[in-house]
Symmetry: C2
């Protein structure tokens, strides 16, 4: 497996575009993105578990009942959530795109991101869809990735090449997500494309399995968004024998999917609202997988630890505190904790109690931009990772006045 260029356009038969159509007031920012497969593709998606759900998710869920899709349209600037006419707007968007692109309306994945509860108008879509379709290109991944950004500061794209049954396949994805990130069964908006040949059922199985250890282990601020969705389109143009059951081919596909999703997770965490640091918490020695995951996620969610990491303060007591209240079954007298980064490693806690360490070394380790918090529970064989970011002045600034 190797990383390749092109993001969502790396896989055969996919093109993409992104434009400004007027949903955002800021005319420099793109606000509408399109992904198109030249043939109908197997499609799978997972959605937020928030009871308050964006209208586009309901429409997409309907469209994906048959496991087939051919295009994805997504706007930023307005989440189309808690709107009286949300469903209507999402459906009309699909009708407009269907007419312009010549694909079935129910083969379209529709998504929105932005402010919740703002009235939404169909006019920008009417005006924007024709030039959006015209702009479709094999170089369009960057534009589409920009079109779905909100408070993101960097574009998030990745693609890898892998082999299934002797055929070279590609899989790539784009993501948006910076705040309101604490996915549950799904995550922020992530769109993945692949030319691997795989049935809708196995594609859904791959995605639903993968997110348990990737997007569901990511948290920026503990707030599960109303509009989270991850979707994958697999158009089969790589020509591999169709994956219709578990086995070597499915495992190869899972590995490739996982390398895309883990990369996107890390990109989202590193670009968390106001973040200056990516935090990765690696837990080992847990009694069960659930305990490992519970501990890892609890640690990256602790506001106190996140603030300490911002200040490069080796306040490991906050790690222990977050382990203790996580709800996981742990023996607190067995816990070891280390901090690690490009600058080195420092052990701070052994058997649940503090050990002498150099504050100078710790400061150096924690001043880097990627920090690993390594926890050994010494109580079993299960391990897990979670991703998050530090809590900074800028998080408060960005969210103190988001709407204006």
């Amino acid at each position: 497996m190797k990383t390749v260029k092109g993001g969502i356009c790396a896989a055969k038969g996919f093109t993409a575009s992104g434009i400004h159509c007027g949903i955002r007031h800021n005319k420099i920012k793109k606000d509408l993105a399109l992904i198109y497969s030249e043939v109908p593709a197997s499609a799978a998606a997972v959605y937020t578990t928030n009871l308050v759900k964006g209208a586009p998710l309901t429409v997409t869920e309907n469209h994906l009942k048959n496991g087939i899709a051919q295009a994805v349209i997504c706007n930023s600037g307005n989440a189309n959530t808690c709107n009286a006419n949300g469903i209507e707007i999402a459906e009309e968007t699909c009708s407009l795109l269907s007419a312009e692109l010549g694909v079935r309306a129910d083969d379209i994945v529709v998504a929105s991101t932005g402010v919740i509860g703002q009235k939404m108008d169909i006019e920008p879509f009417k005006k924007g869809i024709p030039p959006l379709v015209k702009a479709l290109s094999a170089d369009g991944c960057g534009d589409a990735a920009e079109g779905i950004m909100t408070t993101d500061t960097i574009k998030k794209e990745i693609a890898v090449e892998f082999t299934v049954g002797g055929k070279v396949c590609k899989i790539g994805g784009i993501a948006k997500g910076s705040g309101m990130i604490h996915p549950n069964m799904a995550t922020m908006l992530v769109f993945i494309t692949t030319d691997a040949n795989i049935s809708p059922e196995m594609l859904q199985k791959a995605l639903s399995t993968d997110i348990q250890s990737t997007f569901n282990m990511l948290s920026i601020d503990g707030d599960t968004s109303t509009n989270d969705m991850v979707s994958v389109l697999a158009n089969g143009l790589a020509g591999n024998e169709k994956i219709v059951s578990e086995g070597d081919d499915f495992n190869e596909f899972m590995k490739a999917l996982n390398s895309v999703t883990v990369t996107l997770c890390r990109m989202i965490a590193a670009d968390g609202e106001g973040a200056t640091k990516l935090l990765e918490c690696s837990v080992s020695g847990a009694k069960t997988l659930k305990d490992a995951k519970t501990v890892a996620k609890s640690v990256v969610c602790s506001s106190l630890l996140k603030a300490a990491m911002f200040g490069a303060d080796a306040n490991w007591g906050r790690v222990l505190c977050a382990v203790g209240y996580s709800g996981a079954d742990v023996d607190v007298n067995k816990i070891d904790v280390k901090f690690k980064s490009a600058a080195g490693e420092v052990a701070v806690c052994k058997n649940g109690a503090g050990i002498d360490f150099s504050e100078e070394t710790a400061k150096k380790v924690l001043t880097e931009t990627e920090i690993d918090i390594i926890i050994d529970l010494n109580d079993g064989d299960f391990a897990s990772k979670a991703w998050g970011c530090d809590l900074t002045y800028d998080y408060v600034k960005i969210n103190g006045d988001y709407r204006t």
Copy 2:
């Protein structure tokens, strides 16, 4: 019932003191507090559910097995948690105080608050306990309240007078707590004294019931501390007929206890680390009490909403978002939301969708220092309140470098 002066010394037979003994480096700050009842008192306590527990809590739990206590000693500056010799230090503290004060060592409630995982030395206690005992006074509540403060910026004390069976009783409390506040079954350090005559069993029942709707509905930052404890000493000197079962007298006592605990909750929330605003979320119309509580707590815990409140931004979509992911059983299409403060009231959401409102009025309402977030779920008869605070630059500042 009326508010009276004196805090924990308001009730008959209670004295208190607070001094600097050298646990903290900052000599201006008091770091040791004592509360004393001239007769043994019924005693009840609730403790953190964090698996990582401060050593003093274990010692206190042992001492309160017989439901009797006569003194409370608490230090700040070091949490005596994740220390190899924590239990030893806590027990030796009680021995030293027992000798000096002439009370049984196992009639002492011992508590600590401060940094986790720092080595602790008995010397400051040896030096400090004699002058601490000497300083005991009926005017000592303020000094004791200062002795337990960490990042708190204001002393938290309250007392009320009430009548049980024709006898005037008093109940008062002090609290510390500003960060690492998301109590679960207990809260930050809270010490309550009363001269009401009540059996240990009924006292425990009163406390365990009360905290469900008070301290357990409070959150500053979602981090459940390792050292949370609420304890009540009831010395019976008011002379009322002993409360040994439920009934009118017990209800009167519960009301008085509740007025003390709610006041302390609001004080803790308003003095949350870096906070500029007290948030009170009032939920009504829930299907069950559990749903009401789940919704109220989810809203005051949302980092995004907390940041919006700091910025006086009426971003009600974040209220809906937090309701939606709370896990409560709600019908999102029935939810109404209002913001209210001393400056007025503004309705922002009706039946789950946005309504037109004046941004100017909203700004005025949200610029006050006490904000009510009023949610009607319109789906049942249950109601609940939760308390929290805004998320500010100063929270990050305080916690980015707490240890130094």
